[in-house]
Amino acid sequence: MAHLSTTPVLEPGQDKTLILNMGPQHPSTHGVLRVILEIDGENIVRIMPDIGYLHTGIEKTCEAKFYQQVVPLTDRIDYLCPLTNNLCYVLAVEKLLGLELPAKAQWLRVLMNELTRINSHLVWLGTHAMDIGAMTVFLYCFREREDILRLFEAASGQRMMTSYFRIGGVALEPPIGFFDRVRDFAKRFPACVDEYENLLTNNPIWGMRTKGVARITAEDAIALGASGPTLRGSGVDLDLRRDAPYSGYENFKFKVPVSTGGDVFARYMCRVQELRESNAIVQQALDGMPEGPIKADAPKVVLPDREKMKTQMEALIYHFKIITEGFAVPEGEVYQAVESPRGEMGYYVVSDGTAKPYRVHMRAACLANMQTLPAMCEGKLIADVVAAIGSIDIVLGEIDR
C-alpha cells in the first residue's frame, strides 16, 4: 500500500513543478473545495484536497439540542439528500429508545428515501455532465428534479430542508392524491433516464472524457474507505440496503448495479442504473403501501396529533412536556449506517440518559470518498481532475459539517 502514501507535503519549485490552487471558488468543485495541485506542465505530480471551508460545527450544536431538535440540523449536512440524513439519525435514536415502527411509516420512509436518491443522482448527473462539457443534460435532469421537489413540498411543506422523518414516525400524513402524483412520476421516469442515456452513454465525446479516466482498483478503494457508487464502480458488490437492511428494505426486490471498470464511466453507469432501480423501489413501495398509523405508539416520545392535543388533556400534557423538556433516552451508544446516494452514511449517537444527546457524530461518506482523489488523479492530466471530482459526487456540506 505504499502507493497510497498520505504525505501530501507540497514543496514548490524543484525546477519544473508548479503549485496551482483550484478553488475554493471554482465552478467544478461543487461548493467550496480547494484542491492544491502540484503540476508538471499538464501532468499532476501531487494533489491535495483542502477542506473545511463549510465547517459549521453541527456536531457541537447537536450536543446542545433536544433529540427531536437535531432532526432539522441533519437536513443541512447533506443538502442533496436531506431525507437520507433524517432517516439515519432517527433510526439511530429509535434504536437507542428501542422503538418499533408501524409498517406504513417504514414504507413511507423507503418511498421518500428513494425519491431523494433519484433527486440527488439527478443533480449529480446534471452538474457532472456540465463539468465535462455536456450542457444539455443539466436542463433535462433539473426538469425531473423539479417534479420531485414538488412532491417533497406536497408531503412536508418544504422543497429541500424537509425534516419529514421524525423520531417515531413521519411528520404528516401525505396529502390526498400524493400517491397518484408519485405513481405518475414513477411511470414516466424510466423514459427520462433513457433520454439522459441517449445523450451520454454512447456519445463518443463523453466516452473519451470518462473511459479509462481516474481509475481506482477495488483494493485501493476499500483501503481508502470509499463506499457507495465510488466503491461499486470498482467492482465491489456492497450495498447496505441489501446487506444490512434497515427500515424494511428487506421487503423490496432490487438489483445492486456494479461495474468493474473502476473509472469515471463505471461510476457513471452505476449511478444511472441506480436511478432505474430506485424508481423500481418507488413503484414497489406504492403498490404495497400498507394501511395504518404513521407514528409509533409512544406518547412520551412522539408528538400527539393536533386534533387530540386540542381535545384531550393527557395529549396536551405530553405535547407540552416533549416541547419544553424533551424526552430522556436510555444510556447507551448506537452506530447506525444507511446507504446514502454517496455511500455509507453513519450516525454515531451516544446517550447519557438525559434529553440531549451526549455526542452525535456523522460518518460522512464524502469525506472518506474524497481520500480516493489523490489515488485517482496522480500522474494524470489536469482536465481529468474535474471529471474525477464530479465522479466522486462530493457534497461539501457533508464533508465539512
Partner: protein
C-alpha cells in the same frame, strides 16, 4: 419496547469471532467487551491497538477489511477522559464491530492506524483537530476542518457551545 440490558461479561461474549481472536492472541490486550442493542464493542488496551487492528483485518474469521469511522467521545470531567472509537466493517461477512480505547485527559495519544487502513488519514486528522488527540505515527497530523491557526479543540466538553472563548 424496553431495550434488553447490555451484556458486559467477557465470559459470555468470548464466542464472538473478534473477541475470540483477540483473546487467543493476547488476553492482556482486551480490557472488556459489551454487547448492547445488537452491537458489539471491544475495549482494547492502548499499546495493543494497532496490532489488534492488523489482526482483525487479516484474520479470515474476522476479515474486518473496511474502516467505517474513527471518532472520539469526551467524558470530561471523569478520568480516563477520552474514548477513541473505531467502527470496523467486514465486507465479506457484512458484520460490524466497534473498538474503543480509553485515554487520559493529560496529553492523550494513541498509535495511528493509517498503516492498517489508509482511510484513517482524514478520520484521525478530524479527531486530532476537534479533540486534540495525538495519533503517533500519522504521516500528516494537521488540522482538517478548523483553520490552521485555531486555538483549542471545539468538540471537547470544556469548550463553550456559543460565544467567544
Amino acid at each position: 419496547m424496553p431495550v434488553a440490558p447490555a451484556v458486559t461479561d467477557l465470559e459470555q461474549l468470548k464466542n464472538h469471532p473478534a473477541v475470540a481472536r483477540l483473546l487467543a492472541w493476547n488476553a492482556a490486550a482486551v480490557v472488556g467487551a459489551k454487547f448492547d442493542r445488537e452491537e458489539m464493542t471491544v475495549y482494547v488496551e492502548r499499546p495493543f491497538l494497532r496490532e489488534a487492528c492488523v489482526l482483525l483485518r487479516d484474520d479470515s474469521d474476522c476479515a474486518f477489511n473496511f474502516l467505517s469511522d474513527v471518532t472520539c467521545v469526551d467524558w470530561y470531567p471523569s478520568e480516563p477522559r477520552f474514548e477513541v472509537v473505531y467502527h470496523l466493517f467486514s465486507i465479506p461477512r457484512k458484520e460490524r464491530v466497534r473498538l474503543k480505547v480509553k485515554l487520559s485527559g493529560d496529553a492523550p495519544a494513541v498509535e495511528s492506524v493509517t498503516s492498517v487502513w489508509p482511510a484513517a488519514n482524514y478520520f484521525e486528522r478530524e479527531v486530532f483537530d476537534l479533540f486534540g488527540i495525538r495519533f503517533t505515527g500519522h504521516p500528516y497530523l494537521r488540522r482538517l476542518l478548523m483553520p490552521e491557526d485555531w486555538e483549542g479543540h471545539p468538540l471537547r466538553k470544556d469548550y463553550p457551545v456559543e460565544g467567544y472563548r
